[in-house]
């Protein structure tokens, strides 16, 4: 079966992002960019499904500026077969991305769509669910285990109290949690091979999707700073401070 994997170009997870001084946006100049960690897990899961003989073809797709090609090349180096970039300079929001992905799904007809549960920049945690709703597919969100069995897929989900397993009929959308797998590193030969793989480019206009943002960011600001604390010498002093100064125990 064909598997579609959605990947997003985001700021590297180790970078501490700061708002610009004028509060209009975050400062992403000269900041290291990378594939969103949850998307990396999605790619890895798709590749494992192929290695198990379940998946026959993996198509990686991204929505973003021209430079997002880099992240698609990474997905190709990790084992995706070909890639599609929906090129746009608009910061497309989850609903818009879900609509673009729906258009791709209609064209490609994958049996399974795997994507991250959230992007670490917007922290929205919406796109997979929205795509599932628009296409009428079942959804296995926050997946820590995925098992395809004939025309259905069992997904073990990380929920607040523990784990929940649901069975979805295919085609379905799965969003990955951190514990689903440990992504591999791309080897140099695979990175070289990835340069020869097909990367098609399309646009929201070509797909007939209106990606006008529905939610406008008026301002960004740093969170309230915590005032610097003190170091205590021993447990007795700590307990004393907690009892008499902070009065929390």
């Amino acid at each position: 079966m064909k598997v579609l994997v959605a990947v997003k170009r985001v700021v590297d997870y180790n970078v501490k992002v700061r708002p610009k001084a004028d509060g209009t946006d975050v400062d992403l100049n000269n900041v290291k960019m990378a594939i969103n960690p949850f998307c990396e897990i999605a790619v890895e899961e798709a590749v494992r499904l192929k290695e198990k003989g379940v998946a026959t073809e993996i198509v990686a797709v991204s929505v973003g500026p021209k430079v997002a090609q880099e992240q698609l090349r990474t997905a190709l180096a990790l084992g995706a077969d070909r890639a599609i970039l929906v090129e746009t300079d608009v910061a497309v929001q989850p609903l818009g991305i879900a609509k673009l992905l729906k258009a791709i799904v209609e064209k490609e007809q994958p049996q399974l769509v795997v994507m991250g549960k959230q992007a670490i920049d917007g922290d929205n945690n919406q796109t997979g669910q929205m795509l599932a709703a628009l296409t009428g597919m079942g959804q296995g969100t926050f997946a820590s285990e995925v098992a395809v069995d004939g025309d259905s897929v069992s997904v073990t989900r990380e929920v607040d109290g523990g784990l929940q397993t649901v069975k979805l009929s295919l085609p379905a959308v799965v969003t990955t949690d951190l514990r689903l797998n440990e992504p591999r590193y791309a080897s140099l030969p695979n990175i070289m091979k990835a340069k020869k793989k097909t990367l098609d480019t399309t646009s929201p206009d070509e797909l007939g999707v209106d990606v006008t943002p529905r939610v406008t960011t008026l301002k960004v600001e740093p969170p309230a700073e915590r005032s610097a604390g003190i170091k205590v010498a021993d447990v007795a002093e700590l307990v004393d401070k907690l009892k008499n100064e902070a009065k929390v125990i």
Partner: protein, 309 residues
């Protein structure tokens, strides 16, 4: 202005997260209707009717909503939601699972994880793991919102007397079914609602050593959390994880033991009132946010702490 709140419940009772969401709804202002969707959820609906500030409770009792599968519940919420200006749910795994589906069915954007209501269409929410607070304005006719529960006080669970009305519509998308559930059992308070949280990280070295934390937690009546490193190393189950991708907590007291304080962990706990860090590395980033820091070996400190409190 009318507001629909999707209740978080276990069929028998309403979960605390719903009470915080009601407070967010009050901040928006307007008539508050609570939807209880489940199977055999009459008791939860009765409990919802008693919440202060709720004017009406809709109860959808149907086998299709039994395990609150998003495919089915979202169809119900989207159908009812058309009559409302706002649809709210707590940003729990349940709310995060269902609400974006509702938003897409209504063809509107969603505002996730709000931490404050600035006006009827403007909200604040954290982005980039809580390193940036964005003020966002929604232009959609129906505003679909999830609420960060730790950012709003709980509404009183008693004092209201809302009418309970049953909803007959049954939606079964037929695309998903419930198989099983493994819920971790604990006598300690729920992590997101606890007044005190004691968390362990990679420094705990193994799962057995968490008994040192449990001993301290039991004396304090605290919940026990963990960093991602502790979860990934298999010390504790993943529902204990505090952080950007785990649970967000804001207790009165957060004690971080053997946790370095990576950005992703801080995102889950830096709004705690008082933070204590116990770590033998005095350069650990956790000390930059800790009100009280103790540079020491946790294996010496924890037993001392247990006997001192």
């Amino acid at each position: 202005m009318s507001i629909l709140v999707l209740a978080e419940h276990d069929n028998a009772s309403i979960k605390g997260a719903t009470l915080n969401t009601i407070t967010a709804a009050k901040a928006i202002g307007g008539d508050i209707t609570v939807l209880v969707a489940g199977e055999g959820c009459g008791a939860a609906a009765e409990a919802a009717a008693k919440i202060d500030g709720v004017s009406k409770v809709l109860v959808a009792d149907d086998a299709a909503y039994g395990h609150q599968l998003a495919e089915n519940v979202s169809l119900l919420v989207a159908e009812l939601g058309k009559e409302f200006a706002y649809v709210l749910a707590p940003a729990t795994t349940n709310g995060k699972n269902t609400m974006p589906r509702v938003a897409a069915l209504l063809d509107v954007g969603q505002v996730s994880d709000i931490i404050s209501v600035e006006s009827g269409d403007t909200f604040k929410r954290p982005i980039y793991a809580g390193n940036v607070i964005a003020t966002v304005q929604s232009s959609d006719a129906i505003k679909v919102i999830t609420v960060r529960t730790t950012a709003f006080d709980a509404a009183a669970a008693e004092g209201g007397s809302a009418a309970v009305e049953s909803v007959s519509s049954s939606h079964n998308a037929g695309t998903s079914s419930f198989v099983k559930e493994e819920i971790a059992k604990s006598d300690r308070p729920e992590l997101t609602a606890a007044g005190i949280v004691v968390s362990g990280g990679r420094g705990m070295q193994n799962g057995d050593n968490f008994s040192l934390l449990y001993a301290v937690a039991d004396k304090l009546g605290a919940a026990v959390g963990a960093s991602r490193a502790a979860v990934d190393a298999g010390f504790v189950p993943n529902d204990m994880q505090v952080g950007q991708t785990g649970k967000i907590v804001a207790p009165d007291l957060y004690i971080a033991v053997g946790i370095s304080g990576a950005i992703q962990h801080l995102a889950g706990m830096k709004d705690s009132k008082v933070i204590v860090a116990i770590n033998k590395d005095e350069d650990a980033p956790i000390f930059q946010v800790a009100d009280y820091g103790l540079v020491a070996d946790l294996f010496e400190v924890l037993p001392q702490l247990e006997s001192a409190i």
